[in-house]
């Protein structure tokens, strides 16, 4: 793992903790971004953490770009001593896989896809070595996920599955991004799942849709009254497959501002997880099932 720094124009510095994704890189990035915030460097205007990297926006009228770079490099040691443990929560998200809305959308953008002959799920199942879509969907929802980034648009979570690397699902992004994606689409790109918080452009493969709102600028949704964005980095998610009937019923509850997501407070400890992934996940699921 080697930290790489680059300017993004004259107002940003991009810091990549690692080229490849791992929770180790995530925790290093988290520690370093916290250190940058705490350092209160004059001229820093925004700090944005990502999966295995982060970006700092600064005002070059207040701090010279080279000085900004030196300030960041001086904080690099904080990544090495990163604490890889979090007090967090696990949240259940119902997903209607193979829904008609994402299917209609993916058919409209077939010319931008690697394999125009089938659906995104056909393609993802095949290139990941599954015989059927059902087996692929089972792999997608059987183990929980870790929110390793919030961004793209309005509170969209990037999710990394809590399984060993050889069990990780991986797909490329669309050859050319779509100009449309239904709101609350459950997508997939690289090793990440995501939930599209709003309707709009997107490059991830589309697998299904959740009825649960995750972004509400009006803050009327029952569980979003305190803040318009649901997710923060470090949250855990369990996807649960649902039918059309369950989808409709849950959507009605959400829209009537009556829905309460199932949430359990848990601790995530990377060392304990790495030592026994199945056992650790069982404990997470136990906490959620007790709610």
């Amino acid at each position: 793992m080697k930290t790489r720094y680059s300017f993004g124009g004259d107002e940003h510095i991009f810091v990549e903790m690692d080229e490849e994704m791992s929770l180790d890189a995530f925790f290093k990035s988290l520690s370093m971004t916290s250190a940058v915030r705490e350092a209160e460097i004059d001229g820093v205007t925004e700090v944005c953490p990502a999966n295995a990297s982060f970006q700092v926006k600064f005002d070059p009228d207040r701090i010279k770009p080279d000085d900004m770079l030196a300030e960041l490099k001086a904080l690099e040691h904080t990544a090495e001593s990163a604490e890889k443990r979090l007090n967090t929560r696990i949240v259940e998200f119902p997903v209607y896989y193979r829904d008609p809305w994402t299917h209609e959308t993916l058919m409209r953008f077939r010319d931008r896809h690697q394999d125009p002959s089938g659906s995104d799920l056909d393609y993802a199942a095949r290139i990941n070595g599954f015989n059927t879509i059902d087996e692929f969907i089972t792999a997608h929802h059987s183990a929980p996920w870790f929110v390793s980034m919030v961004g793209f648009v309005s509170g969209l979570p990037f999710l990394y599955q809590l399984v060993e690397r050889k069990k990780q699902l991986e797909v490329p992004k669309y050859v050319r991004p779509r100009t449309d994606t239904p709101k609350q689409t459950v997508g997939y790109g690289g090793c990440f799942s995501c939930i599209y918080s709003v309707r709009g452009a997107g490059g991830y493969q589309m697998f299904g849709i959740t009825p649960v709102t995750i972004f509400d600028p009006k803050q009327v949704t029952s569980y979003l009254r305190d803040f318009l964005v649901f997710f923060k980095p470090g949250d855990l998610v369990k996807f649960t497959p649902i039918s059309r009937e369950e989808y409709d019923a849950t959507l009605a509850e959400v829209q009537a501002n009556r829905y309460t997501p199932r949430i359990a407070e848990v601790e995530f400890d990377l060392e304990a997880f790495n030592a026994d992934m199945d056992g650790f996940n069982k404990k997470l699921m136990g906490a959620l099932n007790d709610v």
Binding site: E20, M21, S22, E46, Q55, R165
Partner: protein, 325 residues
């Protein structure tokens, strides 16, 4: 006091200087795409430079005023009319209660800024009145203006009609347009040849150009350095492990069509970026019409900072010019 929207034009939104501080949640800065023009329009009518005004693209709206106001139109050359009578751009003019402000057809540029004395006074959301339509927040009910909207504006009677900014104080892209780029970010993923071609080729602005970003086409497809894709990126050589995007950063999905992210940028994603348009040239992108021939010009940090300084000096010249009017 309000003005009523009789016709929206193509797309008219309320914008100020934006909403910094929420990019880590995927909520971009938004605000005027051509910030210098917004500032100039506000200063012409005696507003604070960052007051909320209208940004209108290609075709202007029709607005009926409920009370007297001073108005200035800057940015794209989109000649205003008051009850049919033509008024100059980059000049403060009066609109009386009951009169209708409309626009002639576009002569140059893409986005005009319509500042109204007192500024637009819709609710401030997360520190700004700028419209971020993708997130349905800010502006007028989180969306572009619609027919029948009654848009509130403030009051100031400080300035005289006829205050004006001469042509030397305006800034528009040339033809071909030139956008200065600082290479970096994931520049190392493309071959040397692809890097040379990017700066040598003439690109054209694609019709897919909006507040999120502007797409270009017409240059040669890019070739990538041979490498094993890092785990988590995806198998296409243009794929990376999703990271943050800079404003102005240039992504090239599949190595074919560069997209420059603008004020309503997505905050991150999984396509590689090869560098970013420098801050001084972001305003120019807001004025590009579809099909405009465009060249990307390679600069280093020193040149980027000099350009930034020059843009600041231009704003100071605008302020100075208006002091004496």
């Amino acid at each position: 006091m309000t003005f009523k929207v009789l016709n929206t034009g193509l797309l008219t939104t309320i914008q100020d200087l934006g909403r910094p501080g929420y990019f880590h949640l995927g909520i971009p800065i938004s605000g005027a795409m051509d910030r210098l023009s917004l500032r100039a329009a506000n200063l012409l009518v005696g507003n604070d430079e960052g007051a909320a005004a209208l940004e209108t693209v290609f075709m202007g709206p029709q607005l009926e005023f409920e009370k007297d106001a001073m108005v200035a139109v800057t940015g794209a050359e989109l000649p205003p009319r008051v009850d049919g009578e033509e008024k100059p751009t980059w000049t403060a003019f009066k609109v009386k209660a009951g009169q209708v402000l409309s626009f002639d057809y576009l002569r140059e540029g893409a986005r005009a800024y319509i500042a109204i004395s007192g500024g637009i006074t819709t609710d401030v959301y997360l520190g700004s009145r700028s419209t971020y339509a993708i997130g349905a927040l800010g502006g007028y009910e989180g969306r572009a203006l619609a027919v029948g909207d009654m848009v509130p504006f403030g009051d100031n009677g400080k300035v005289k009609e006829g205050r004006s900014l001469e042509a030397s104080l305006r800034r528009m892209p040339g033809n071909p347009a030139e956008l200065r780029v600082l290479p970096g970010l994931y520049w190392r993923l493309i071959t040397e040849e692809a890097g040379r071609n990017f700066f040598d080729d003439e690109w054209k602005v694609a019709p897919e150009a909006d507040r999120m970003g502007v797409r270009f086409r017409g240059g040669r497809p890019m070739t990538f350095q041979e490498r094993e894709q890092p785990f988590g990126a995806g198998s296409d050589p243009s794929n990376i492990v999703d990271g943050c995007y800079s404003y102005g950063s240039i992504q090239v999905p599949g190595g074919t069509e560069p997209i420059v992210l603008h004020r309503d940028a997505v905050s991150g994603g999984g396509y590689f970026t090869l560098g970013a348009v420098i801050s001084a040239d972001m305003d120019l992108i807001g004025q590009l019409q579809p099909h405009t021939p465009t060249r990307f010009v390679k600069v280093d940090m020193e040149q980027a900072l000099a350009a930034r300084k020059e843009r600041k000096a231009q704003l100071a010249r605008i302020e100075e010019a208006l002091k004496h009017q």
